[in-house]
């Protein structure tokens, strides 16, 4: 039900013109299954880059990334997409909801990847929305919701397929204090009650406190 993460000698370089720009330089990282870790560090230190590698959104230049027992650094695009669908729920700072879909439809979206019948998809979407405390907001469009509610819809969408791992990149970055606290509470609930492994990037020390462990990334090196 939950995933361990294992990074070995992970390097990520970007090409800028003729020069290669090293962003991550030999990162080793272990996140045990069922952990809730926060990742902090200055802007530009490579936090998002690292998170993308764990989530299977990108591949490392060198090194090994193993998530839930699957070495994903060598997977092709299709296999990587499959991996994400099966194992990872992602929450972004900007929520990234589809503005023309209602809360329920947004949450239902990832279920299209499976083969559930329509009624079952609907039921699961509603269950996920109940977990994040949004019963009664099923038919609201994103623009009819507050930022905190939008982010909770995004969290419901991230967990609707019941992934082992939830990845969150500054999930409270755009939220006021109260909404941020609600979201963090939710993450703890997901971690404690549903056993999700969570890795969350944040700039906010108060947010980091929600996690069991806080890791720091500086100039491409994990402390």
């Amino acid at each position: 039900m939950s995933a361990s993460i294992e990074l070995r000698g992970v390097c990520k370089e970007y090409l800028r013109g003729a020069a290669t720009l090293p962003i991550l330089e030999g990162v080793d990282m272990d996140v045990p299954a069922g952990a809730f870790q926060a990742l902090m560090g200055p802007s530009g230190s490579g936090k998002s880059t690292l998170l993308n590698l764990i989530a299977g959104l990108d591949r490392p230049t060198r090194g090994q990334v193993t998530v839930a027992g699957t070495p994903i650094h060598g997977l092709g695009d299709g296999a990587l997409a499959d991996f994400r669908a099966r194992h990872v729920g992602i929450v972004f700072q900007a929520y990234n909801l589809i503005p023309v879909l209602t809360a329920r439809e947004n949450v239902e979206l990832p279920l299209l990847l499976g083969s559930l019948p329509r009624a079952e998809r609907r039921k699961r979407a509603e269950t996920a929305l109940r977990i994040v405390g949004l019963e009664g907001r099923y038919d609201h469009l994103p623009r009819q919701l507050s930022g905190g509610q939008e982010q909770r819809v995004a969290i419901a969408r991230a967990i609707v397929c019941d992934p082992d791992l939830v990845i969150a990149d500054e999930p409270t970055g755009d939220l006021d204090k109260k909404s941020a606290e609600e979201v963090l509470l939710l993450f703890r609930k997901l971690n404690r009650e549903l056993g999700k492994t969570i890795v969350m990037v944040t700039h906010d020390p108060a947010a980091a406190e929600a996690a069991d462990t806080v890791r720091r990334l500086d100039k491409g090196v994990l402390q």
């Binding site: 990872v88 589809i98 879909l101």
Partner: protein, 401 residues
């Protein structure tokens, strides 16, 4: 929620852009249908012309008359095999009649020889009773059904016509009585003739000018080959070559296409143009789709981050393009059907019937238009779809919407 519903919602997202896109497709389709219908109608003018019918006229010009005896001579002529050269022969003279009460109503009026004329033009259907009533009345007239409808003429109505070519002896208009109507299979434009007895015209002329006709029409025997028809035409002209008036005989299709020949190059251009119009519309649509898709690049990236494949996202974009195209095609087909079928067709068939005898929007043309518009619309989505599918996920995520 399905891919289709999401594509539909995306299509409906920007109402102004959608309206413009649909209007664009509709206008292009209207142009396409109009051009195709014109081209098709044009082709049918030649197709409807009959190969087995011959028109014999004065060699130099259509306006100069032929001696009426030529008709009898032609009827008596045998081919090499001893059979009659032509199965039926008749004649007509151009009258140029006009209703003085309605000088703006233009229609052709011929002086003809009754029944034999209808034998040559066997696609003209006249009730036998009408033919008899016509034969029994020297001032009778047979009128095309469509012309009669336009003019409001009924059986027994008196019609006064004057002709700039044949002034009547008493300086009064010629008086006719409508004795019947004819209908024409296929070419509704042909239901426009006013036909009356040639004797009537002849009697109006000074004695020295009597006994002339405008042109001879004849039909070769059933089963005559193209070569037979051509040979018959040559035989006729050879026969009259040594007589006082030389003739030129052509089959009806050669006559028609000769007349239409020049303009058929124009029709070829129109034919190409009809597709060019849709092509341009496709490019405009591609631009609109590209714009929409670029604005939503983060959403597509977000879908892919959930695990949707590049293919799925490409299909989403293509489906949206197809939906916009389909909407435009349906609206356009309806507008085209209305505008061309209800607005332009009567005008073309009435006033340009020689060139466009049957100006009708066929289901085939509509289906072709809808099909081509759909294919163009889907094609217009290909580049944006590929762009979206190819985008690097992490970069698309970073792009701020």
């Amino acid at each position: 929620m399905t891919l289709f519903r999401l594509a539909l919602r995306n299509a409906l997202r920007n109402k102004v852009r959608l309206t413009l896109a649909v209007a664009g497709v509709a206008v292009a389709l209207l142009a396409f249908v109009t051009l195709r219908t014109a081209v098709g109608s044009w082709d049918s003018a030649a197709a409807l012309a009959r190969r087995d019918r011959l028109v014999t006229r004065q060699k130099m010009t259509f306006i100069m008359p032929l001696p009426k005896r030529y008709v009898a001579d032609l009827r008596a002529t045998r081919s090499a095999s001893g059979a009659s050269l032509v199965a039926e022969a008749s004649f007509a003279s151009w009258f140029g009649g006009r209703d003085p009460a309605r000088p703006n109503a233009f229609f052709a009026s011929y002086a003809i020889e009754g029944k034999s004329y209808f034998d040559v033009y066997d696609e003209m259907h006249v009730d036998l009773a009408d033919v008899r009533a016509f034969e029994d009345d020297r001032s009778g007239a047979i009128v095309g059904a469509s012309l009669a409808r336009d003019m409001g003429w009924k059986r027994g109505d008196r019609v006064l016509l004057e002709s700039p070519i044949y002034p009547s002896p008493d300086r009064l208009p010629f008086a006719f009585t409508v004795r019947g109507f004819y209908e024409s299979a296929g070419r509704s434009g042909d239901e426009k003739l006013f036909l009356f007895h040639w004797e009537r015209l002849d009697a109006a002329l000074p004695t020295s000018q009597r006994g002339t006709i405008g042109w001879i029409v004849s039909r070769t025997p059933a089963g005559a080959s193209t070569d037979d028809v051509a040979a018959a035409a040559r035989t006729i002209d050879a026969m009259f070559a040594e007589r006082e008036t030389e003739t030129l005989t052509q089959d009806e299709r050669a006559f028609t296409t000769g007349f239409l020949g020049m303009a058929s190059a124009v029709m070829d251009v129109l034919s190409i143009l009809s597709f060019v119009v849709l092509g341009i519309q496709g490019l405009v649509l591609a631009n609109a789709m590209g714009m929409s898709v670029r604005e939503r690049s983060r959403e597509y990236a977000s879908l892919r981050s959930m695990g949707f494949s590049r293919r799925w996202v490409a299909r989403l974009v293509l489906t949206e393009a197809a939906l916009v195209g389909a909407l435009g095609a349906v609206v356009g087909a309806f507008v085209a059907w209305l505008a061309v079928g209800r607005g332009l067709a009567p005008f073309f068939e009435r006033d340009l019937s020689f060139f466009f005898p049957v100006f009708r929007v066929t289901p085939g043309t509509l289906a072709l238009a809808v099909g081509v518009a759909l294919v163009t619309a889907i094609a217009s989505g290909v580049t944006p779809a590929i762009g979206t599918a190819r985008a690097r996920l992490t970069e698309a995520m970073r792009r701020v919407a």
